[in-house]
C-alpha cells in the first residue's frame, strides 16, 4: 500500500483529519491517566486489613446518663459475657477502634523516652486477651496478653502499658529486621516491653498521607472506661449477617440504658470496608464510566467522519475500481488512512498524557504515570480507530466500478 497518495488525499481534508487526531490525542491523555488513577484506587482499597473480615461485626455502644468508670467496667464485662454466650458468636472484645474504622489514636513510638524523637508512627488499639482471637490475627512471634495483664484506665489517664503486641510492619520500622519480642519501646515516658508480634493489622485510617505507615499498629492491654466504645464480635462462619440483624435488640434487652444507633450502630465488616473505601470506589467508578463513554464517543466520531469521506469520494473510488483496484485495495486504503491519523493522534496524546500527569501530580499528589498505561492506551486507541473505520471502509470497498460513469 502506497502511503504517498494517502498523504496527498489527507491534504484535501486537513481539518477533519486534524480533528480526529486531536480527539484521539485528548482521549488518550484522559483515558490513560484515568486508568492509572483507577488502578491506584483499586490497589488502595484491596489492601488486606489483616483481620478475619468475613466473620466480624462491630457495635458502637454509648452508655446513657454518664455512669462512672466503675459502673462502666462492670456493665462492659456483663455485655462481653453476654455476647460470648450468644449462639453463633465465638468471641468478642471491647476497644476504641479497629482497622478501617476511620477514627482512633495514633502515637509516635520511640526507642528512647524522649517523645520528640519517635522512630515510627503507629495506630494504638486497646485490646484484651480475646483481641487477637476475635480479630483472627496471626501471631508470628511471642505470645498473647494474659487476662491478668489487662489494666483499666479512665478518659484522661496517661497510656503507659507495661506490655504491647506490635505488627510485623511496625517491628520492621523500629528494629529493621531484628527480633522485636523482648525489646523495649516508649509510648510515654515509661518503658513498654514487646511480648508478641502479629502478621498484619491495618490502621483505622485510609488517608493517602498515612499510606506509608498503614501497617503500623500496636495492641495495648488496656480497657478504657469511657462511655463510648466499640465491641468487636466474631461469629461462627456464615452467621455474621444473622447476628448483625439481632445483636442490637439483644443488647438492649440485656440493658436498655445505652445508645446503639439504629442506623450504623451495628456494622458488619463488609459494611465497614465499603464505608472506608467509599471515595476510592466512587472515583474508580466515575473514571471508568467517563473513560468508557469517552472511547465510545471517539469511536463514533471516527465512524461519522469516515462515513462522510466515503460518501464524498464514491466517484473517485469508482474510478479506482474501474482502473483495476481490488476491493482489498480500497479497504486497506481507508484502514491505512485512519492508522496514519491515529498514529499522529497517539503521538501527540502520549505527550499530553505525561503533561496531564505532571499537572495532576502537582494538584492531587498522585504518583508518576507508569509507561505501561500510556502503552496500553496507545494500543487501545489504535485498535478502536481501526475497528471504527472498518464498517465505512467495507462500505467503500463495495462501491461498484460503474459509479465512475455516473454524474451527480
Amino acid at each position: 500500500m502506497q502511503i504517498r497518495p494517502i498523504l496527498a488525499a489527507l491534504r484535501h481534508h486537513k481539518a477533519g483529519s486534524l480533528l480526529i487526531a486531536l480527539q484521539v490525542a485528548l482521549t488518550l491523555a484522559i483515558v490513560c491517566n484515568a486508568l492509572f488513577i483507577i488502578h491506584g484506587r483499586l490497589t488502595h482499597l484491596s489492601q488486606p486489613s489483616g483481620v478475619d473480615e468475613d466473620r466480624l461485626l462491630v457495635v458502637e455502644n454509648q452508655w446513657a446518663g454518664k455512669p462512672d468508670a466503675g459502673h462502666i467496667g462492670s456493665m462492659m464485662s456483663a455485655d462481653l459475657n453476654f455476647l460470648r454466650q450468644m449462639p453463633g458468636v465465638s468471641n468478642a472484645y471491647a476497644t476504641d477502634a479497629y482497622p478501617l474504622r476511620g477514627g482512633g489514636m495514633s502515637y509516635g513510638i520511640g526507642l528512647v523516652p524522649d517523645k520528640l524523637k519517635y522512630a515510627a508512627e503507629s495506630a494504638l488499639y486497646f485490646a484484651d486477651e480475646n483481641g487477637i482471637d476475635t480479630l483472627g490475627l496471626k501471631l508470628v512471634a511471642g505470645r498473647n496478653f494474659r487476662a491478668d495483664e489487662i489494666g483499666q484506665i479512665d478518659a484522661h489517664s496517661p497510656i503507659e502499658p507495661a506490655e504491647a503486641i506490635i505488627t510485623v510492619d511496625l517491628a520492621k520500622a523500629l528494629f529493621h529486621g531484628q527480633a522485636a519480642v523482648g525489646k523495649v519501646i516508649y509510648l510515654s515516658a515509661k518503658p513498654t516491653v514487646i511480648i508478641g508480634v502479629v502478621e498484619r493489622m491495618q490502621i483505622p485510617w485510609t488517608y493517602s498521607d498515612m499510606a506509608k505507615w498503614s501497617g503500623n499498629s500496636t495492641l495495648i492491654p488496656l480497657r478504657q472506661l469511657v462511655d463510648t466504645f466499640d465491641y468487636v464480635v466474631r461469629t461462627e462462619p456464615g452467621q455474621v449477617d444473622e447476628i448483625a440483624s439481632r445483636v442490637r435488640a439483644a443488647l438492649y434487652a440485656q440493658n436498655r440504658m445505652r445508645v446503639i444507633d439504629a442506623d450504623g450502630g451495628v456494622l458488619t465488616y463488609a459494611q465497614v470496608r465499603a464505608k472506608a473505601y467509599k471515595n476510592d470506589r466512587g472515583i474508580a467508578i466515575l473514571m471508568s464510566a467517563i473513560s468508557l463513554v469517552l472511547l465510545a464517543i471517539t469511536g463514533a466520531g471516527i465512524v461519522g467522519l469516515t462515513s462522510f469521506w466515503v460518501g464524498q469520494r464514491r466517484k473517485q473510488i469508482g474510478v479506482r475500481r474501474a482502473l483495476g483496484a481490488t476491493r482489498n485495495d480500497i479497504l486497506s486504503y481507508f484502514l491505512t488512512e485512519n492508522l496514519l491519523i491515529a498514529v499522529a493522534g497517539v503521538t501527540i496524546g502520549g505527550v499530553l498524557a505525561v503533561a496531564l500527569n505532571f499537572w495532576l501530580m502537582k494538584q492531587f499528589e498522585i504518583d508518576r504515570l507508569a509507561p505501561g498505561y500510556v502503552l496500553a492506551g496507545v494500543v487501545a486507541l489504535l485498535v478502536l480507530g481501526q475497528a471504527a473505520v472498518l464498517a465505512p471502509a467495507l462500505r467503500a470497498s463495495h462501491v461498484p466500478p460503474v459509479e465512475a460513469t455516473r454524474s451527480v
Binding site: 486531536l22 488513577i37 446518663g65 484522661h156 496517661p158 440504658m257 466512587g282 464517543i297 461519522g304
Partner: protein, 439 residues
C-alpha cells in the same frame, strides 16, 4: 428569517438522524458530566456565611515548634486549652468564641422510650451574634452566664420538635447526661454547610445541624470530653486527670474571632505576635512560636474542605466535554460540507455570506437546544447517581435546581455554538462557482 432558518435546520438534522443523534448525545453527555460534577463542587465549595465571611478569622499558634516541621507536621490547626482561654480573656476582637464538639445522651422520662444520643458544641455567648445564628424562640445566653458557668442550653429546631413538638420551650429544662439545663433559646433552621466553625475539631464537615449548644465554661466544669479531634504531639509528661489534660499542650479547641476591617485584623495579628513573644519570655517555649490569622475562605482551603476527589472529577469532566466538543466540530464540519452544492446554489442565487452564516448557526442552535434537553436529562440522572460516587453527606448537598438547569441549557448552547464556529466559517467560504461547475 431566523424562524425559517431554524425550521430549515430542524429539517436538515432530520435528514441524517444517526449523525444528529451522535452530535446531540455527545453534547448532552459532555454537558451533563460537567454539570453533575459542578453541582457537587458548587455544594462543597459554597460560602457558608456569605456577607460575613470576610470578617471571620481563626488564630493559629505554633506551639509544636520547628522540631515538628522537620517531622512533617503543620502548624497545629487547633488551640490548646491554655491558649484558647488566654485569647478569650484578652477579648481583643469584636466577637470571639472558643468551640469544641461534645456529645450527650438524653434519657426520656417515659421509660418505654430508649435513651438517645445528641451531638452539639460547647461555646461562648458571642458565638450566636458572630455567626448570625437565627432564633425561633428566645436567644443565646449572655456573657454573664459564660462567667457564671451557667447550666443553660440553646437547642436546635429539630431537637425542639422531637422533645417539645415544636412549641416554645424557652425556660423549660432538659436533662443531658446527668445534668439539668435551662433552655434559653431555640434556633431556627440553621446549618451552614460546610460546618465551617468546627471543621478542624469535628471530622464530619458536611453533616446535620448540631442538636444543642452549651456554655464552654460549664462543659469544662463537668469534665466533658471532646467529641472531636485532639492532638498531643510531643507532650509526654502530661499530668494525669482532667487538670492534666487542661494544662497540657494537647490541641483540641477551635477559636473564631470577628474583626470588622483590615485595621482590626492587623491589630489582632500584632496582638497574637505579642502573646507568642510573652509565652516564650515566660519560658513556655524555646522558640518564638509563629502565629497566623487565617480568614474563613482561606481556612476552608487549609482544612481541605473541598475533597480532592471533587475537584479531580470536575476537571476530568471538563476534559471530557472538550473531547465531546471536538467530536461535534468534526461531525458538523462533515454535515455542512456535504451540502456544499446547496450552499453554492444559494450563493449563486444571491445569498450573502452572512446569510449562510445565519442559516448554519441556526442549525447549530437546534443541535445545542436538543443537546441541552439531553444534557438536562443526563444531569438529572447524574445528580441522582451522585451517591454512588461521593459520600452520603456530600451527595445530600448536591441537587438539581433552577440555576443548575439554566446553566445546563446555556452550556449546551455555548458548546454547540463554539463547535459550530469553524464549520460555519468553512461553509460560508464555499466558492459558488466550483460547486456549480462540478455538476
Amino acid at each position: 428569517m431566523l424562524a425559517y432558518y431554524l425550521r430549515l435546520g430542524l429539517r436538515s438534522l432530520r435528514r441524517n438522524p444517526i449523525l444528529t443523534t451522535l452530535m446531540v448525545l455527545a453534547i448532552g453527555v459532555g454537558v451533563a458530566a460537567s454539570m453533575t460534577t459542578y453541582a457537587v463542587f458548587r455544594a462543597v465549595s459554597a460560602n457558608p456565611i456569605p456577607g460575613k465571611s470576610g470578617q471571620l478569622f481563626v488564630p493559629r499558634i505554633d506551639i509544636w515548634g520547628p522540631q515538628a516541621r522537620t517531622q512533617g507536621r503543620r502548624v497545629p490547626d487547633m488551640l490548646s486549652y491554655t491558649d484558647a482561654m488566654a485569647l478569650m480573656r484578652a477579648h481583643r476582637a469584636v466577637n470571639q468564641a472558643a468551640i469544641y464538639p461534645v456529645g450527650f445522651t438524653v434519657v426520656p422520662q417515659d421509660s418505654s422510650v430508649n435513651p438517645f444520643a445528641v451531638k452539639g458544641d460547647a461555646t461562648y455567648a458571642e458565638f450566636f451574634p458572630m455567626f448570625d445564628a437565627p432564633f425561633a424562640y428566645g436567644s443565646g445566653w449572655d456573657a454573664s452566664e459564660d462567667e457564671a458557668h451557667a447550666a443553660v442550653v440553646v437547642i436546635s429546631s429539630r431537637l425542639n420538635q422531637q422533645l417539645f413538638g415544636g412549641a416554645d420551650s424557652v425556660g423549660r429544662t432538659i436533662h443531658l447526661d446527668d445534668h439539668d439545663y435551662r433552655i434559653v433559646g431555640v434556633l431556627a433552621n440553621w446549618n451552614p454547610q460546610p460546618r465551617f466553625y468546627d471543621v478542624n475539631v469535628y471530622s464530619r464537615t458536611f453533616s446535620g445541624a448540631p442538636d444543642f449548644f452549651v456554655p464552654f465554661t460549664h462543659a469544662v466544669d463537668l469534665q466533658t470530653d471532646t467529641n472531636g479531634n485532639s492532638s498531643c504531639y510531643g507532650s509526654a509528661g502530661r499530668a494525669p486527670g482532667w487538670q492534666g489534660w487542661l494544662q497540657s499542650d494537647c490541641v483540641w479547641v477551635s477559636l473564631w474571632v470577628q474583626l470588622p476591617d483590615t485595621a482590626a485584623a492587623r491589630a489582632y495579628r500584632s496582638f497574637l505576635k505579642g502573646y507568642a513573644a510573652e509565652q516564650k519570655a515566660a519560658g513556655r517555649f524555646d522558640w518564638l512560636p509563629e502565629v497566623q490569622l487565617v480568614g474563613l475562605r482561606q481556612w476552608m482551603d487549609v482544612e481541605e474542605v473541598v475533597p480532592p476527589e471533587t475537584r479531580m472529577s470536575l476537571f476530568l469532566s471538563i476534559g471530557f466535554l472538550l473531547v465531546c466538543l471536538i467530536n461535534t466540530i468534526g461531525l458538523l464540519l462533515a454535515k455542512f460540507m456535504r451540502r456544499s452544492a446547496e450552499i453554492g446554489v444559494r450563493r449563486a442565487l444571491g445569498a450573502s455570506r452572512t446569510e449562510i452564516v445565519r442559516q448554519f448557526l441556526a442549525e447549530s442552535i437546534m443541535v445545542g437546544l436538543a443537546g441541552g434537553v439531553a444534557g438536562l436529562l443526563f444531569t438529572g440522572i447524574g445528580v441522582l447517581a451522585i451517591g454512588l460516587v461521593f459520600e452520603p453527606d456530600i451527595a445530600r448537598l448536591a441537587h438539581m435546581n433552577l440555576s443548575l438547569m439554566l446553566l445546563t441549557i446555556l452550556l449546551s448552547l455555548a458548546a454547540s455554538m463554539t463547535a459550530a464556529f469553524y464549520p460555519t466559517w468553512r461553509a460560508a467560504n464555499v466558492q459558488p462557482a466550483w460547486q456549480l461547475k462540478s455538476n
